[in-house]
């Protein structure tokens, strides 16, 4: 029978191999799923993994989707490494979008392009504020941050709905729940004409570098990680767990807010009830698959974008429901968690054990209790 045996030390091979193995397992299950749905599996896999890479346009779309995922995941990586479970990044993203829109709406024809900076700044503030609530409640009242941050997602969604159905509804918008389309001055400059990808990509890549430095070359980053790995050691060293909590939450809240702001100052261009696209949750998977490492996150966010785009293409080309994307994403995380065990354990085949000697049943018939 198969047995798990602890490895004397972590397997470096599996540290990198595990996400790849997990992806392979997801692909296998995906293939089965396609067959069960009566669709050609090869075509299905092609749509998910090849189409998104085929043309320059496709690649830029990949970049567009991966920017918010990357940004949010970077913040979440810091959080999870510190053992702070911010599950409400989606809510912080929404607040970022709301605050960004608030500033964007103040622009008129005479406003210069500098307002973009203000828009993004507002977005960061919005995200941080929403995360600060979680931090405060955990700091002061010891309230579990998983549940609080999650509840705030639902609250944020309602807040958004209220704003676009109510005070911020575009009077010239045929009564649709949406704000005005923001002026071009509030938008991030595009990188190339004709494509949607904008300078947000540069922001994201800069963030990757900054987070790498933070985590691996600064004492602050070291403190955060120790706090997550061994809280008693952090206390012994004198690292403030309160500081770690606030840093992690404000950082991830700010990043999620920034992602929301970039969407407003980019692909979305206005505030609608469809702003919450689930990036806050997908980013959790991006962070994990990327091993909570900034460089890994670059790759995993591209992978996750492929799932998103693949899902959209599968819907239009194969008539498959878009929710397939969610299924794949969930499967990937599951498979990854299972494969990660291989980093710490080996699988051994062990023959059924022969008893040590003539097996006499160990249960004597005179069991006595005092």
């Amino acid at each position: 029978m198969l047995k798990l045996e602890a490895r004397p030390e972590q397997s470096r091979l599996m540290s990198i191999g595990s996400p790849i193995l997990a992806l392979a397992i997801t692909v296998v299950i995906g293939t089965i799923l396609f067959v069960l749905l009566g669709k050609d599996p090869v075509r299905g896999l092609y749509i998910f993994f090849v189409e998104p890479l085929k043309s320059v346009y496709a690649l830029t779309e990949l970049a567009v989707k991966s920017v918010p995922l990357m940004l949010i995941a970077l913040g979440l990586a810091v959080c999870f490494r510190s053992n702070v479970w911010n599950i409400g990044a989606e809510g912080q993203y929404i607040l970022g979008a709301i605050f960004a829109s608030g500033v964007a709406m103040t622009a008129d024809k005479s406003t210069g392009g500098w307002i973009v900076v203000l828009v993004l700044f507002a977005a960061i503030v919005g995200g941080m504020l929403w995360a600060a609530i979680v931090a405060l409640l955990r700091d002061r009242f010891n309230a579990n941050e998983i549940l609080v941050s999650l509840m705030l997602v639902y609250v944020a969604e309602q807040l958004l709905s209220y704003m676009v159905y109510g005070p911020w509804k575009d009077p010239a918008g045929y009564n649709f729940p949406q704000t005005i389309t923001f002026l071009k001055s509030t938008q991030m400059p595009k990188l190339f004409t004709g494509f949607r990808v904008n300078a947000g990509v540069i922001v994201a890549l800069l963030a990757v570098g900054a987070f790498w430095v933070l985590l691996f070359r600064t004492y602050a980053g070291f403190q955060l990680q120790v706090g997550g790995l061994a809280p008693a050691a952090a206390r012994y060293a004198g690292f403030s767990s309160r500081k770690a909590l606030w840093t992690a939450l404000l950082l991830s809240g700010g990043m999620a807010g920034l992602a929301g702001g970039l969407e407003i100052a980019g692909p979305l261009g206005q505030l609608t009830p469809y702003v919450p696209a689930g990036y806050g949750f997908a980013a959790i998977i991006v962070a994990y698959v990327g091993r909570l490492h900034p460089v890994g996150i670059v790759f995993s966010s591209i992978l996750m974008s492929m799932f998103y785009i693949g899902g959209e293409l599968a819907q239009s080309r194969l008539g498959l429901p878009k929710s397939l994307t969610g299924v794949f994403q969930g499967l990937l995380l599951f498979a990854l968690l299972a494969c990660d065990t291989l980093i710490f354990y080996r699988i051994r085949w062990q023959a059924a054990r022969a008893p040590a000697a003539k097996p006499v049943s160990a249960i004597s018939t005179e069991t006595k209790v005092a």
Binding site: N142, L147, M151, Y165, S323, G326, Q329, G330
Partner: protein, 306 residues
């Protein structure tokens, strides 16, 4: 007066959803495992229950389907978390995310479907008492089953040896293991039973509470149920109380709207979620109180070999 009686009845209805889920999660957590996948399990169970309900027209088969779906997903979760020692929080999240997508995926065919006409329930005699009748005695049998379940669970935990063993496992799996108890098997059973109850809750949502299927219709009740178990400090009777409290808050929004209160609907919809936050804050403030009542091994991995 009439509408207040209806509010009470609606509260019992809504509370039953939370009660089943939270009682299931309580069993989980008593063994030391926290399953953040409640929302996902409930969603999959909801569509499973709905599909079977539409197909067979039989409520009880629908509940059974929901329970089976919940137990199956919980088993997958349990295998990962208990036998492979994956991080409980991350794995639970993965389950929720998967369940959200998977339920939406299967549910596509069912968005236009309807269940056969719901019968009206009433306990003969009791249902006709003024006020009390319409408030308490015109409910689906599952409402009463939930109450019975809570008391049965309390008896199990505090008066039976099996319950003691479960509590011991949650308190210190290492000690239980040293005494020879099959800790991992006990935990897996607890997780699966918990999953089955979450599944019943999910099926109840789609078959009784709002008899239809809409993507994401659980709307966070799985998360609220998780908060509920903490709020109730892992005691079944308190879970029941808390469930009805939350049910009441949820129903409050409709009550207020029908009474013509002039608040934008979105803020009323926020009420249950805000209430959850408030409740969490209130109960978590006293660290010592939580520590004494919480199964000490929650969330921590257990390695039998060491």
């Amino acid at each position: 007066m009439d509408s207040f009686a209806l509010l009470l009845a609606a509260t019992l209805n809504a509370g039953t959803v939370l009660a089943f889920a939270a009682l299931g999660l309580l069993i989980n957590e008593r063994s030391g495992i926290v399953n953040l996948g409640a929302e996902g399990m409930m969603l999959v169970a909801a569509i499973a229950g709905f599909a079977v309900g539409v197909g067979t027209g039989n409520d009880w088969l629908a509940f059974a389907a929901g329970a089976a779906a919940g137990a199956l997903l919980a088993a997958a979760f349990g295998l990962l978390v208990i036998y492979l020692n994956t991080n409980q929080y991350a794995t639970g999240l993965a389950l929720s995310l998967f369940g959200t997508g998977f339920s939406a995926f299967i549910g596509i065919k069912y968005t236009q479907e309807k269940l056969p006409e719901r019968p009206h329930f009433a306990i003969p005699g009791l249902a006709d008492i003024p006020f009390v009748g319409p408030a308490f005695f015109r409910q689906h049998p599952m409402v009463y089953i939930a109450i019975a379940l809570a008391f049965a669970l309390a008896w199990f935990l505090y008066r039976s040896r099996a319950g003691l063993v479960l509590r011991a496992v949650g308190e210190s799996p290492e000690s239980a293991h040293a005494l020879g108890y099959p800790v991992r098997r006990i935990r897996l059973i607890a997780v699966m039973v918990g999953g089955a109850l979450c599944g019943v809750s999910g099926a109840y949502i789609s078959v009784v509470y709002t008899p239809l299927w809409v993507e994401g219709m659980v709307a966070g009740k799985g998360w609220i149920a998780l908060a509920l178990t903490t709020f109730a400090t892992w005691r079944p009777a308190r879970v029941l109380l808390g469930a009805y409290l939350f049910g009441g808050v949820t129903m409050l929004q409709f009550f207020l709207q029908s009474e013509g209160v002039q608040v934008p609907s979105q803020f009323l919809t926020m009420l249950p979620y805000l209430a959850t936050v408030v409740v969490l804050v209130l109960i978590s403030r006293n660290k010592a109180f939580i520590r004494i009542n919480m199964p000490a091994s929650i969330g921590k991995p257990f390695f039998p070999g060491s």
